[in-house]
Structure formats: structure tokens, C-alpha cells
């Protein structure tokens, strides 16, 4: 039995390292395409300023990219190091998209980013442009495969349990990759990356306009970012709505938590704009409601209903009762794979196996035959994830999404009228908007992953079983190590990023003291002009 503390610490470690990694990924996804767009203008018009833009924003991309790559290594390791049962139980399905990501996407992105940085003098203009597009394509394909893997955790499609190998196995590769959850999630997430990059570029350009430095470069960068951003934000909201629609069908417990629905109601259902959910009392202590809005938002009709926590818990209890004989039969099959009676019993209850695992946690010595009704009630209650976090994380994400849309509409109007450089208030706003998409991305991750609890693979594998059987001491050691290392990393990254922005695209290189050669590294940082 893995102690609850170890499972909790493993969850904290994974969440911390994934959220941290996800600070760098969205910016890379979007900035790579913005760079490609700038370079396209340079190659087609031959105007030097667009090359300066591509090179300057390219420097910032690289500072960000280094940490994205570094922290991505952690993610590739962490399933095995900390979620070993998860890895062996679903590795047959989950491992494939990760490996394909390496083959198809990561190799491409990483090989060509070297040429993108070092190849300006060695490649023709057209070759370099293609290389830049391949970097952008590679990073986005990378996101596709990661989200296919994540889509499987959210809505396990294309897989079945094989009692001979005691694990989940792939039954249809196409069902896996074309799962609706995976597809809408990929588009939603990668476009969220484009929004992040647009806000980042617009914000830093606004800073230059406020300081009246590099104004030409800043105005052009701002315009590209604003146009890119308004389209992307509209896309992200549309796809987010589609994702809610798809996810609501696949994961009713997550949807109930997102909307803080405790008791089943009849249509049309009211929408909780704000609420104070209490998990222990299973009700909202206070709520601000809009009548009928929930039915319209979620089911896109007036007579649709959304299942609430109480009904979902009753369904879960039923499935737990069905899962108990499945686990019993499986244990017998493990000893003698040819036991026909055990196989028949297993086949009859196979679909509820995950629910059997869910309640096994509460059985004395994990002996499922000793499960009581009280244990079943406890396990059924577990199927409702932590409501207040999901409810509020969702509202922050959506609220910030709408805020960004309004901001980009204004940005496009100002930039097309060529007045943005004079709107100082708006420029300050643009600067202060920089953290907003990052917070929206992180809260989106929280909704998706906390909303999936208590499962690592929805209705298939509970979280408590998934973790590696480490000691608490090991977990404290590794978690502390990550906290220390990652804190140092972010401090260095922010320092270099701020310094690079302050120095700007075409300041002269400062001389390097102590007998050091001139230019060189600092030139690289500053993105000095070629000519």
C-alpha cells in the first residue's frame, strides 16, 4: 500500500513541475509562429526592419526556449519515476504518443532551432525562412502529441483491458488520436499559446513606445501581435466552448465541479456566476445566479440539463458495486491465467474495473472482499473533485479570456488608425496585460487536471494506485530539489529576459571589461543589426 502522504507529495511534485513547464511552452508555441510571420515579411519585401524584428524576438524566444526544453526533460522522466504503476498500466497506449512526439516533432524543432540561430549567414533567405517555419511546426506538432496523450487520460478512447498482461492495451490507434477531447484540446491549447505570445510581444512593444525607443520596430511588432492576437483570442474562446461541450459529455463530474452543481435540477438550469462552494456540506454557501443560462451555455438549448454531484455520486456507487467482483476475478486470474470461471466473472464486470480499484483503497490490507457499504459511500464521494478550486480556476480563465478579447479589439482599432503610440494609458495597460495569458493558461491546466480527479485515467485508473511506491523521505528529497533548482532557474531567466528587453534591439554593444573580446556574446543578447 502506498501511503496517502506519498501520493499527495507525488501529486504536488507533478503539478508543480508541469505548471512550471507550462509557463514556457505557450510562449514558445506562439512566438515561433510570430517569428515566422515577421521573417516572411522580410523575405517577401526585403525590408531590413522585419529581419531586425525576427532576430530581436528570436533572442527572447531562445531565453524562454532553454527553460522550456530543460523542464520538459523532467516531464519525460516523471511518469516513470513517480507514477510507475500508471506507466506500466497504460504505457501501452500513453507511451506511443510521447515516443511519436519525439520522432515527428521534437527532433525537428530542436534540430532546426540550431540552424535558425546559427544559420543566418550560412543559409539562403528562403532556406532560413523554411527552417523557422519548421521550428514553429515542430513545436506545435509536439503539443499535438502531448495533448493526444493527455486526451487519453481525460477520455480514454481506443483502449481495452487485457487480463493476460494485467494492463490496458491499445485497440484502435485512430480512435486514440482522433478522440474529440484530444483534438479540441490541442487546438484550444495551441491557440492559447498564440494569444500568450501576442500579448507578450504587444506588451514589450508598448514598453518601447512608452519610452520612445525603437518606436518603428515596436509599432510594427505591436500591429502584427494585435492582429495575430485578436484572431487567436476569438479562436481560443470558440474552441474552449467546444471543449466544454465535449468535455461535459466525457467527464460529467468535472462539469458539475466547474459549475458548482450539487443538487439535480430541472431545465432550464441557472448559471452560477459566482459561488462559495462547500465540499463537506455539498452545497453552495452563497451563489450569484443567472436563470436558464447554464442550459444555454452548456447544452446550447433551453431544455438541456446538466447532471449534478448528487446524481453522479449515486451512479458511481452503483459502478463501484460492479467493480468489486471485477477486481476479485482479476486477482484470481493473476495466479492462474487459465481459470475459466474467473475469466467469465471478469468479463461480466470488466467495464467497472476502475471503480473497483477506486474503492480498494479503503479495504483493510487492500483486500477487496472486505469492502463495506461505508467504504463504497466514501469512494463514491471521492468521484466529485475539489469543487471550489475548479469553479474559480475556470472563472479566472474565462474572465481573463474575455478581457484579452476586449483588449485585442481595442488594440487592433488603435494600431490600424496608427494612434497606439499616443495612447499612453492603453500602452500601460498593454504592459500590465503580460501576466494575464500566463495565469489563464495555468488556471486552464488546473481545471483540466484537478477536474479529472480522483482518476489519472478517467474511470479507468484511480490516482491513489498510480503513484510509485516511494518512501516519504524520497519524496521530500526530490520535491525540495525541484523547488530549489526551479526557483534559481526562474530568477536567472527573468533577470536575463528583463535585461534583454531593457537593452532592446539596436543599442550599441557595451564594451566587455577584463580583457574580454569585444561584442560577441553581448551582441548576441542585443540582437545587433547586421548592417
Amino acid at each position: 500500500m502506498i501511503s496517502d502522504t506519498v501520493v499527495e507529495l507525488s501529486r504536488w511534485q507533478f503539478a508543480a513541475t508541469a505548471l512550471y513547464h507550462f509557463l514556457f511552452v505557450p510562449l514558445t508555441l506562439g512566438l515561433a509562429f510570430l517569428l515566422a510571420a515577421m521573417e516572411t515579411v522580410y523575405v517577401t519585401t526585403g525590408r531590413q526592419i522585419y529581419k531586425d524584428m525576427a532576430q530581436f524576438w528570436g533572442k527572447l524566444l531562445l531565453i524562454n526556449f532553454a527553460l522550456g526544453v530543460a523542464t520538459g526533460l523532467t516531464m519525460e522522466f516523471e511518469f516513470g519515476t513517480n507514477w510507475s504503476f500508471y506507466s506500466s498500466f497504460v504505457g501501452d497506449i500513453f507511451g506511443a504518443p510521447l515516443a511519436i512526439e519525439g520522432l515527428m516533432a521534437f527532433f525537428m524543432e530542436s534540430t532546426f532551432i540550431g540552424l535558425m540561430v546559427f544559420g543566418w549567414e550560412r543559409l539562403s533567405k528562403a532556406q532560413h525562412l523554411i527552417v523557422t517555419y519548421l521550428v514553429a511546426l515542430g513545436s506545435n506538432l509536439s503539443a499535438l502529441w502531448i495533448l493526444v496523450a493527455n486526451g487519453f487520460m481525460q477520455d480514454p478512447k481506443g483502449a481495452h483491458f487485457n487480463p493476460l498482461t494485467m494492463r490496458m492495451e491499445l485497440s484502435s490507434f485512430t480512435d486514440l488520436i482522433f478522440s474529440h477531447d484530444a483534438q479540441s484540446k490541442f487546438v484550444h491549447t495551441s491557440i492559447a499559446g498564440y494569444v500568450t505570445a501576442a500579448i507578450f510581444v504587444a506588451g514589450i512593444s508598448a514598453y518601447y513606445m512608452l519610452r520612445k525607443r525603437h518606436v518603428e520596430l515596436a509599432k510594427r511588432s505591436f500591429r502584427m501581435a494585435a492582429l495575430f492576437g485578436v484572431l487567436a483570442t476569438a479562436g481560443v474562446i470558440t474552441l474552449g466552448d467546444a471543449l466544454g461541450f465535449v468535455g461535459g459529455h466525457a467527464q460529467p463530474t468535472k462539469l458539475a465541479a466547474m459549475e458548482a452543481l450539487w443538487k439535480t435540477e430541472s431545465a432550464p438550469m441557472a448559471f452560477n456566476v459566482a459561488a462559495l462552494p462547500s465540499q463537506t456540506q455539498q452545497r453552495n454557501l452563497w451563489a450569484l445566479q443567472v436563470p436558464a443560462a447554464l442550459s444555454i451555455l452548456v447544452t446550447h438549448s433551453l431544455d438541456g440539463t446538466v447532471p449534478a454531484a448528487d446524481a453522479l455520486e449515486r451512479q458511481a456507487a452503483e459502478r463501484i458495486r460492479g467493480g468489486i467482483p471485477a477486481v476479485e476475478a482479476l486477482k484470481r486470474l493473476s495466479k492462474s491465467p487459465t481459470d475459466a470461471a474467473a475469466m467469465a466473472q471478469f468479463k461480466a464486470h470488466e467495464k467497472d474495473l476502475g471503480y473497483g480499484f477506486l474503492v480498494q483503497r479503503y479495504a483493510p490490507d487492500l483486500d477487496i472482499s472486505k469492502v463495506t457499504d461505508a467504504d463504497i459511500r466514501k469512494a463514491a464521494k471521492d468521484t466529485i473533485p475539489l469543487v471550489w478550486v475548479i469553479f474559480w480556476a475556470f472563472r479566472i480563465m474565462v474572465g481573463f479570456g474575455l478581457l484579452m478579447l476586449a483588449y485585442f479589439i481595442l488594440a487592433v482599432i488603435y494600431t490600424l488608425r496608427n494612434q497606439v503610440q499616443d495612447k499612453r494609458g492603453f500602452l500601460y495597460l498593454a504592459l500590465w496585460m503580460i501576466p494575464v495569458p500566463f495565469i489563464a493558461c495555468e488556471t486552464g491546466w488546473l481545471v483540466a487536471e484537478i477536474g479529472r480527479q480522483p482518476w489519472t485515467v478517467y474511470e479507468v485508473l484511480p490516482t491513489w494506485m498510480s503513484a510509485s511506491t516511494h518512501s516519504v523521505a524520497y519524496m521530500v528529497f526530490s520535491l525540495s530539489g525541484f523547488v530549489v533548482l526551479y526557483s534559481i532557474f526562474i530568477a536567472i531567466e527573468m533577470y536575463l529576459m528583463v535585461k534583454a528587453v531593457r537593452q532592446g534591439p539596436d543599442e550599441p554593444a557595451p564594451s566587455l571589461g577584463g580583457g574580454m573580446p569585444h561584442a560577441g556574446p553581448a551582441g548576441a543578447l542585443l540582437g545587433r543589426r547586421e548592417d
Binding site: G95, I100, M104, T469, H470
Partner: protein, 377 residues
């Protein structure tokens, strides 16, 4: 299910190819990191060494990431058991690797001597430690790892992490470090001139000789240590778990495959002439050839281990009968088939564009060039 059997063996070979790719490509960059402070005495010299691998380290590192991903996809039980069982060692490997991208990208971003010196040490640690752990992990596989499974295949590791750094494992670790230093130094000689070239050639010569010595001692050690022997197991072509076989330990059992198939001796034997010719080639200034011969030595060394262990992949010293083998640790036939398709399409593409990237960046990296190129590391 003959197809399943063929796919299991194919993916065992492909895992070998990935480990070889990782060892050669990542090993080259990590070898450069390990010897960076020795071959480069001034800041500019170090920057020459870094810029030789600068355009390629990131792409090369994907061999490592793909290695992890492919073990996950094709050998999930091994990914799960090895990565969790060797937890502290894996963390050392990971932490030393995640500081490496920062070392490359951030080192030359500020002019301060202290800043750059600090990052040079980071690059040393992130070259030396991962290669040491890589070799030590292989050493532990040969010795067996203390793990066992419960009825539902939850793995439990029962050793302490100190035992993972036993003398034999450290010997394997140092073999891996010296081989990396050889290929790293050969890469530097191939693309530099002057003092840094001479120092790198010197490093390559002695690290190549030390590697041969360590390989010999390790080989003798393996021939007398406890090896594993599969006494009874289900049909190799069938789907199975590691709970259904009988395994025995015997001294010298790792030579059983060599005794059965004499031609296998060519694999370890080839390491000697390849390395000696490589060192000779360096003396004559044929650095390019020397690097390729070093790559072949890596292939021979990893091939030697693979040929000794087959069909074992991760033997259990705590519960030998629950050892992980090619027959009981693979993915399903369906997953292996899909993965084979993707590999057949993308691996040639990867090799093609990686070669193109090296071709574009070909030629010597000089001190003048590093000083004047503002894209340089």
C-alpha cells in the same frame, strides 16, 4: 503470433539503436562539456569548443528524450520499474541534465568572468554526471536490480540507492565517461585549430586508452559474476507477465550466449582495433574518421552488453524469477506495429535532416569567428 515475436525482437534491436544514438550523439556533447575547462584555457577557446556543438546539442539531446519515450511506449514495464526503482540516481541524471540547456543558452549572455566560469562548471557537471549515471545504470542492469512485483504488477524497489553505486557500476560509469570524452574530443579536433586542437587530441588519446582498459576489466568481471539464466518461461510469442517464469543465477551465465554463438565474440573484439585505429587516425589528423570510429566503439560496447544479456533486459536480484525480459516486458503487438510504422517513416527523415544540419554548419570554428559572430554562444 509469430509477428509478435518478431516485433519484440525488432524493438529490442531498436532500443539498442536508440541507446547507441544517445551514447554517440549526446555522448559527444557531454564529452565536450566534461573536457571544456581543460581544452579551453581562455574564455574564447571555451567558446570555440561550445560553438562547435552549439548548433547541434539541442537536436542531439532528443536522442535522449526519444530513448525515454521509446522505452515508455515499447517497454512500459521497464520504463516504470527502472525509472522508479533507480529513483535517486534518476533524479541526479535529470537534475544534471536540466541545467545543461541553460549552460549553453545563458553562459555567454553576460560578460562577467565569474558568471561564465560558473556556467562552465555547470557544463562540466552536466556532461560528466549524466554519462557516469548512464554507464552505472547499464552496470546495474548486468548485476540485477532489487525489485519485485505484487499480484497486479505494482513494482517495489527494496534496495538502497547507495548500492546502485557499487564498484562494478562505477567502473561501467567511468567507461561511459571516457568514451564520451573520446568522441567529444574527436569532435573538437575535427572542427578547431591551434592550441585547443592539440589539447583535445591529447585528451582523446588517453581517454580512448583508458576506455579500452576499463572495457577489458569490465569484461573479465562480467565473465565471473553472477549471471541470469532463463530456466522456464511461457512461449516467447505469447502475451505474458513477469510472474510466470523461472530464472536461476549462475556465475558466468552472462557468457552463455557467447558460448552458444561464437560469432558474437566479434562484437567485443572489434572494440579494440576500432579504438586503436581511431587513436592512430587522430595522430595523422584524420579527426573525422576518428570520431566515426569512436561511434563504432560505442556501438560495440553497447552491443557487447546486449548480446550478453539477451533475452534479459532488467533482471531482478531480489526475485530473479520476476526478471524483465524481451518476452514479458514489451507492449502489445498492436502498439509495437504502429510504433514500427512511425519509426520506419521518421527515423530516415531524422537522419537526413540531422546530416544536413551538420553539413550546413561544417568547417572549422575559429576564435575570430566566435568573437565576431553575434549569434554565437
Amino acid at each position: 503470433m509469430e509477428a509478435y515475436l518478431a516485433l519484440k525482437i525488432l524493438w529490442w534491436l531498436l532500443l539498442g539503436v536508440l541507446l547507441m544514438g544517445l551514447a554517440v550523439m549526446v555522448g559527444t556533447d557531454m564529452g565536450v562539456g566534461t573536457i571544456l575547462r581543460y581544452v579551453g584555457r581562455t574564455d574564447t577557446e571555451r567558446r570555440v569548443a561550445l560553438n562547435i556543438i552549439g548548433p547541434h546539442w539541442d537536436g542531439n539531446q532528443v536522442w535522449f528524450i526519444l530513448g525515454g519515450g521509446a522505452i515508455f511506449a515499447a517497454w512500459p514495464l521497464i520504463y516504470a520499474t527502472a525509472f522508479s526503482g533507480l529513483y535517486v540516481v534518476m533524479l541526479l541524471l535529470l537534475w544534471s541534465m536540466i541545467i545543461r540547456p541553460l549552460g549553453f543558452e545563458y553562459r555567454s549572455k553576460l560578460p562577467s568572468q565569474r558568471w561564465r566560469n560558473g556556467w562552465d562548471w555547470v557544463l562540466f557537471v552536466s556532461g560528466f554526471v549524466p554519462m557516469l549515471v548512464f554507464g552505472a545504470a547499464m552496470g546495474n542492469m548486468l548485476q540485477g536490480v532489487p525489485f519485485h512485483f505484487s499480484w497486479n504488477l505494482t513494482s517495489y524497489y527494496t534496495g538502497s540507492f547507495i548500492t546502485l553505486f557499487n564498484p562494478f557500476a562505477i567502473l561501467c560509469g567511468l567507461l561511459s565517461v571516457t568514451l564520451a570524452m573520446y568522441v567529444g574530443a574527436a569532435m573538437i579536433t575535427n572542427r578547431s585549430e591551434g592550441a585547443i586542437y592539440r589539447r583535445a587530441r591529447e585528451v582523446a588519446t588517453w581517454s580512448g586508452l583508458v576506455a579500452l582498459l576499463l572495457f577489458t576489466v569490465g569484461g573479465i568481471w562480467v565473465s565471473v559474476m553472477q549471471g541470469y539464466h532463463l530456466v522456464q518461461s511461457p512461449d516467447p510469442a505469447s502475451a505474458q507477465t513477469p510472474l510466470q517464469q523461472v530464472v536461476e543465477l549462475a556465475p558466468g551465465a552472462w557468457l552463455a550466449n557467447y558460448r552458444g554463438h561464437g560469432a558474437l565474440w566479434l562484437i567485443p573484439a572489434s572494440a579494440y582495433p576500432l579504438m586503436l585505429i581511431g587513436i592512430g587516425a587522430l595522430r595523422r589528423g584524420w579527426s573525422h574518421l576518428a570520431w566515426w570510429l569512436g561511434a563504432l566503439v560505442w556501438i560495440a560496447v553497447i552491443g557487447t552488453v546486449g548480446a550478453a544479456m539477451f533475452p534479459f533486459m532488467m533482471p531482478s536480484s531480489a526475485e530473479p524469477s520476476q526478471s524483465l525480459t524481451v518476452w514479458n516486458a514489451s507492449s502489445s503487438v498492436h502498439t509495437l506495429a504502429w510504433m514500427t510504422g512511425f519509426t520506419a517513416v521518421f527515423m530516415p527523415l531524422i537522419i537526413w535532416y540531422t546530416s544536413w544540419a551538420f553539413w550546413v554548419m561544417r568547417g572549422k570554428v575559429s576564435t575570430e569567428q566566435v568573437e565576431s559572430d553575434h549569434h554565437a554562444y
